[in-house]
C-alpha cells in the first residue's frame, strides 16, 4: 500500500505569524477522498488540524478549500484524480482565515441574505396560509433548476477576480441566487432585487471571467445567471410585478380527517 503525501496549510492566529505547510503521511486506500485523507491525519497523527466538514457527499457545502491550487470540495475530490505526487490542502482565497483550513464566511452569508433570497408575493395571506400550491409547469421549473442547486460552499466566490478587488461586489453566489428567485414564475420580487443590484458595484462589476462556473461542484453556472440579470435590465424586460406571479391551483388541502373512510392495506 502506498502513502499519500498530504500537505495541510496550518495557521493559528494566536501562535503563528505566517501560514505554513505541514506534511502528513497517510496510508492510501481505494476510493479515498481528500477529506478522508485529512481526517486520517487529524484522527491519528495530529488532533489539532482544524477544518469544516459534515455530510461527506457534496450536499452540505462545508468543506470548500483550495486543493492543489484549485477551489474544490474535499469530500468530492478523489486523491487519485489529482495530478502530481502531493495533495496540498489550503484555505479558500478571498476569505479571511480563522484557523488552518477554516475561513470566515460571515460576510458571504450576509451578501446572500441581502439579495432577498425568498419568494416575494403580494398575496401575503395566501403565501403564509396556503390553500393549495402555485401552479408551475415542468418547463418553468427546468428554467431555474440549475440555479437552485447552490450549496453555499463559497468556492465560486473564492475564485472570483472581482470579489478579490471589490469588497462591495455581492459575488457570484449571491447574484446567481438573485437570478434564481427572479426567474421563478411564482416570484414578484425582481424589481426590488434589481434595484439593489443595478449599481456600479452590483451586476455591472462582473466582467465575465467565468471562473465561478468553472469551479462550481454542483453544476451551477453563476456567470450565466449574472448575464441573464443584466439582460433583464437592458432589455427593459421587467420581471413580474405584484400580482403577476403564477396563480394557485384550484384544489386544496384535504378536509377529511382520519376517521372518514376505511383503513387500507394490510
Amino acid at each position: 500500500m502506498t502513502d499519500v503525501r498530504l500537505l495541510v496549510q496550518r495557521f493559528d492566529p494566536f501562535k503563528d505569524e505566517e501560514p505554513r505547510l505541514v506534511e502528513y503521511k497517510v496510508p492510501k486506500r481505494e476510493g479515498m477522498t481528500v477529506l478522508d485523507a485529512i481526517l486520517y491525519a487529524r484522527d491519528y497523527v495530529d488532533h489539532s488540524i482544524a477544518l469544516r466538514f459534515s455530510c461527506r457527499q457534496a450536499s452540505c457545502g462545508s468543506c470548500g478549500m483550495k486543493i492543489n491550487g484549485r477551489p474544490r470540495l474535499a469530500c468530492y475530490t478523489q486523491v487519485d484524480e489529482l495530478a502530481g505526487e502531493k495533495v496540498v490542502a489550503q484555505p479558500m482565497e478571498n476569505f479571511a482565515i480563522i484557523r488552518d483550513l477554516v475561513t470566515d464566511l460571515g460576510s458571504f452569508f450576509e451578501k446572500h441574505a441581502e439579495v432577498v433570497p425568498q419568494l416575494v408575493r403580494s398575496d401575503l395571506q395566501e403565501q403564509e396560509h396556503p390553500t393549495s400550491e402555485y401552479v408551475m409547469k415542468p418547463e418553468e421549473l427546468t428554467r431555474v433548476l440549475q440555479f437552485t442547486y447552490c450549496i453555499k460552499c463559497g468556492l465560486c466566490t473564492s475564485s472570483c477576480p472581482t470579489v478579490a478587488t471589490d469588497s462591495e461586489f455581492p459575488g457570484p453566489q449571491a447574484l446567481a441566487q438573485a437570478y434564481r428567485y427572479t426567474a421563478d414564475v411564482r416570484d414578484e420580487g425582481g424589481d426590488g432585487r434589481i434595484a439593489i443590484l443595478d449599481t456600479p458595484h452590483g451586476i455591472w462589476r462582473c466582467h465575465f471571467a467565468g471562473s465561478c462556473s468553472y469551479v462550481c461542484p454542483k453544476g451551477v453556472d453563476p456567470a450565466l445567471g449574472i448575464q441573464l440579470l443584466k439582460r433583464h435590465v437592458m432589455s427593459g424586460h421587467a420581471p413580474r410585478k405584484a400580482g403577476e406571479g403564477s396563480p394557485t391551483a384550484k384544489a386544496g388541502i384535504p378536509a377529511h380527517g382520519p376517521g372518514s373512510g376505511s383503513s387500507s392495506g394490510g
Partner: protein
C-alpha cells in the same frame, strides 16, 4: 472561591440545532409572535449545513384524495410500518398537518417536482398504499433546508449562533433556564439564557461508521437531555436502510426502488419475492434489510475486497436512462463520483446501513419534555409517530410538523414569562467539567480510537439481527471503553478547537450507545427494526410499550410507558 463570570446572553426562545426541525421552529416562533420575540438558533455547524440536507427521496403527505389517497390511509400505513409501537393520536395529528406543510414550503419557494399540469408531483415509497412521497428530484432535504434557511433570513428576530457547541441544558426547579455553549471561533464558554427552549439536534447515527449520516450526527443533544434528567425513549429501535452505497454508506434513496429499481443477489435472483410477495422491493425498510442480511448470511451476496463488506446489487436498468437522469440525477452523480459506476449501465453495490433512530428525547404529543419550558423536535425527539420502524418520507415530514408545533408552543410560553434569569452554580460546574476535566485533562488513550472501537462493536453486535450474547458482550465492552482515559485534548488552541468538540461528542456517543444496547437487551421480542434471533416473534402481551431510559448518578435505569392506540388494533404485518 468565586470563578470568573461566564458571559450571559439573553433571548426569548433558544433553539438548539439548525436542521429542518430547528429552522421550521425558528420561523414559526417568529411568525406567531409577529416578530416580537427574540429567537436564537444555536448550532454547532453553519446554519445551512445540517444533516437534513442529505435527505433524498421524499416527504409524505396526502395531496390527491381525488385519486384515492386519504389521511386515514397515510395514518394506517404509518402505524403498520411502526409495527404498532407508534402513538396513534400523534400519527393522526401528523397526517392532518402534512398537506399544509407541503404547500407552505412551496409558497416559500421550494422547487417541488411538478406534474404536466403544473401541480406538485408525488412518487411511490416503501410501505405506502399510495404514491404520496412529495419530491424535488432526489434532493428533498437539501431543498427543504434551502427554502427554510432562505426564508428565515427574512425574519429580523431570528439570531443565528453558528458554530456554537452546546454542552448542557440549564434548569432550575424543573424549569428551563437556558444552555451553556462554546463559541468555537473564540473558544469562549457562554451561557445563553432563554425563557423557552427547543432541542432539535438530530439523530445519533454516527454510533455506526457505515452510516448514511453526516459526520456531525452525534447524539450531543440526546446526551445533554439525559444529563438534565429527561429520559430517552425507544432507543433500541434503529433503522437500517436497505441501500447504503459501498464503501462508506452514502444513501441510495428508496426512490430508486420507488421508480422501479430492484434488488438482486449473486445468482441474479430478485430475492424480495420470497420475503414480501406483495410489496416486493417496496416492503418497509426493516423487512427489506432483514431479507438482505439473510441473503448475505446464506451466501448469496458479493464481497467488496477493499472494505471486506458483503453486499447485494441494486439494479436500476428497469427505470430507464431518461428517468434516471431526470429524477435520480444526484444518485447517478454520487454513484459515478464515489464508486465509479454509472447506474444507467451497471448495478450498484449496496448493503443495509444505519439511517435513522426511531427513538429520542421523550416528549408528549406537543413535543414538550418533562422540563417546563423545554421542547424537542425532529429526529432528536420521540413523539412517537415512528414506533419500531419509520416509513420512508415520514422523517422530513415529522421535522416540519413538530418544528412548527414546538416553535408555536415555545413562543406562546415565552411570551407569558418575565426576563430569563441566570442559574449560577450549574454554569460553574459545567465550565469545570469541560475546561478542567477535558481541555486541561490528561490521558493516554486516543479519543478517536475509542470512537472506532465503539463503531466496531455497534456494527458487530447491535446491527440488523441481535442476540442476548452479542448484546451482553457489547454492553460489557461499552462499559470498559468508558473507563479509558480518553477525556483529554491534544489541541491547545482556543480558536476553532474541533478536538475539544470531538471528545465531547465521543463522550455523548458512549452514553447513548449504552442506552441503545441496554434497551435492546431488555426487549426480549422482535418488533420493527429490533430483530432478536433468540426472540423472533413480536410479543404484544409483554412488550407493547415504550422503553424509557433514565440517567442518574447510579447509572442507567430502564422504565416503560404505554402506547396510545386509537383505532388500529395490532395485527401481524405482511407486505
Amino acid at each position: 472561591m468565586v470563578g470568573k463570570l461566564v458571559e450571559a446572553l439573553r433571548h426569548d426562545v433558544v433553539i438548539v440545532g439548525s436542521g429542518i426541525a430547528g429552522l421550521r421552529a425558528a420561523i414559526e416562533a417568529s411568525r406567531v409572535s409577529d416578530g416580537k420575540l427574540d429567537v436564537a438558533v444555536v448550532t454547532k455547524l453553519q446554519a445551512m449545513r445540517s444533516h437534513s440536507v442529505s435527505a433524498e427521496g421524499g416527504t409524505a403527505a396526502v395531496l390527491y384524495p381525488e385519486l384515492g389517497d386519504s389521511l386515514d390511509s397515510h395514518a394506517f400505513d404509518t402505524v403498520k410500518g411502526s409495527d404498532y409501537l407508534a402513538d396513534q393520536d400523534a400519527v393522526e395529528r401528523f397526517v392532518r398537518e402534512m398537506p399544509g406543510e407541503i404547500y407552505q414550503l412551496e409558497h416559500w419557494g421550494l422547487p417541488w417536482s411538478r406534474r404536466e399540469d403544473g401541480r406538485i408531483a408525488q412518487r411511490w415509497f416503501g410501505g405506502y398504499s399510495y404514491p404520496r412521497a412529495t419530491f424535488a428530484e432526489d434532493k428533498v432535504g437539501f431543498f427543504e433546508m434551502q427554502t427554510l434557511y432562505d426564508t428565515a433570513t427574512r425574519y429580523g428576530g431570528i439570531h443565528f449562533y453558528q458554530e456554537w457547541f452546546v454542552t448542557s441544558i440549564l434548569t432550575e426547579g424543573g424549569e428551563f433556564r437556558g444552555v451553556t455553549a462554546i463559541d468555537m471561533k473564540t473558544g469562549s464558554f457562554v451561557q445563553i439564557l432563554g425563557k423557552a427552549g427547543i432541542i432539535a439536534t438530530g439523530g445519533s447515527g454516527r454510533l455506526y461508521s457505515f452510516a448514511t449520516y453526516a459526520y456531525s450526527s452525534t447524539p450531543d443533544g440526546m446526551a445533554t437531555a439525559l444529563r438534565a434528567g429527561i429520559p430517552l425513549k425507544d432507543m433500541e429501535f434503529i433503522q437500517f436502510h436497505p441501500s447504503g452505497l459501498i464503501p462508506s454508506g452514502i444513501l441510495i434513496t428508496e426512490a430508486v426502488r420507488g421508480e422501479g429499481g430492484v434488488l438482486v443477489n449473486k445468482d441474479g435472483e430478485r430475492f424480495m419475492k420470497r420475503y414480501a410477495p406483495a410489496k416486493l422491493d417496496l416492503a418497509s425498510r426493516d423487512v427489506v434489510s432483514r431479507a438482505m442480511m439473510t441473503e448475505i448470511e446464506e451466501g448469496r451476496g458479493f464481497k467488496d475486497q477493499a472494505t471486506g463488506l458483503d453486499y447485494l446489487h441494486l439494479d436500476l436498468s428497469p427505470i430507464g436512462d431518461e428517468k434516471i437522469k431526470s429524477r435520480l440525477s444526484q444518485i447517478r452523480e454520487i454513484a459515478i463520483k464515489f464508486r465509479g459506476i454509472d447506474p444507467a449501465e451497471k448495478p450498484l453495490p449496496v448493503r443495509p446501513v444505519c439511517h435513522y433512530v426511531m427513538g429520542g428525547i421523550d416528549v408528549d404529543i406537543d413535543g414538550a419534555t418533562r422540563i417546563r419550558g423545554l421542547w424537542a423536535a425532529g429526529e432528536a425527539a420521540c413523539v412517537s409517530i415512528n414506533g419500531a420502524n419509520r416509513l420512508g418520507a415520514n422523517s422530513t415530514a415529522e421535522c416540519l410538523v413538530w418544528g412548527k408545533f414546538t416553535g408555536a408552543e415555545a413562543a406562546r410560553y415565552a411570551a407569558g414569562k418575565g426576563a430569563a434569569s441566570t442559574v449560577g452554580e450549574q454554569v460553574q460546574l459545567e465550565e469545570k467539567r469541560i475546561f478542567d476535566g477535558i481541555f486541561h485533562g490528561k490521558g493516554g488513550t486516543n479519543p478517536y480510537e475509542i470512537r472506532d472501537s465503539l463503531q466496531r462493536l455497534m456494527a458487530k453486535d447491535v446491527f440488523v439481527y441481535r442476540t442476548a450474547d452479542g448484546l451482553s458482550e457489547a454492553l460489557r465492552t461499552i462499559r470498559e471503553l468508558k473507563t479509558k482515559d480518553f477525556l483529554h485534548c491534544e489541541d491547545r488552541s482556543r480558536v476553532y478547537n474541533t478536538n475539544l468538540n470531538d471528545v465531547l461528542e465521543v463522550e455523548s456517543m458512549l452514553i447513548v450507545a449504552e442506552v441503545v444496547i441496554a434497551g435492546a437487551l431488555a426487549r426480549t421480542e422482535s418488533r420493527g427494526a429490533h430483530a432478536r434471533r433468540d426472540f423472533p416473534k413480536r410479543d404484544d402481551k409483554n412488550w407493547l410499550k415504550h422503553t424509557l431510559a433514565f440517567w442518574g448518578p447510579d447509572g442507567l435505569r430502564l422504565d416503560y410507558s404505554k402506547v396510545t392506540i386509537t383505532k388500529y388494533q395490532p395485527t401481524e404485518r405482511h407486505y
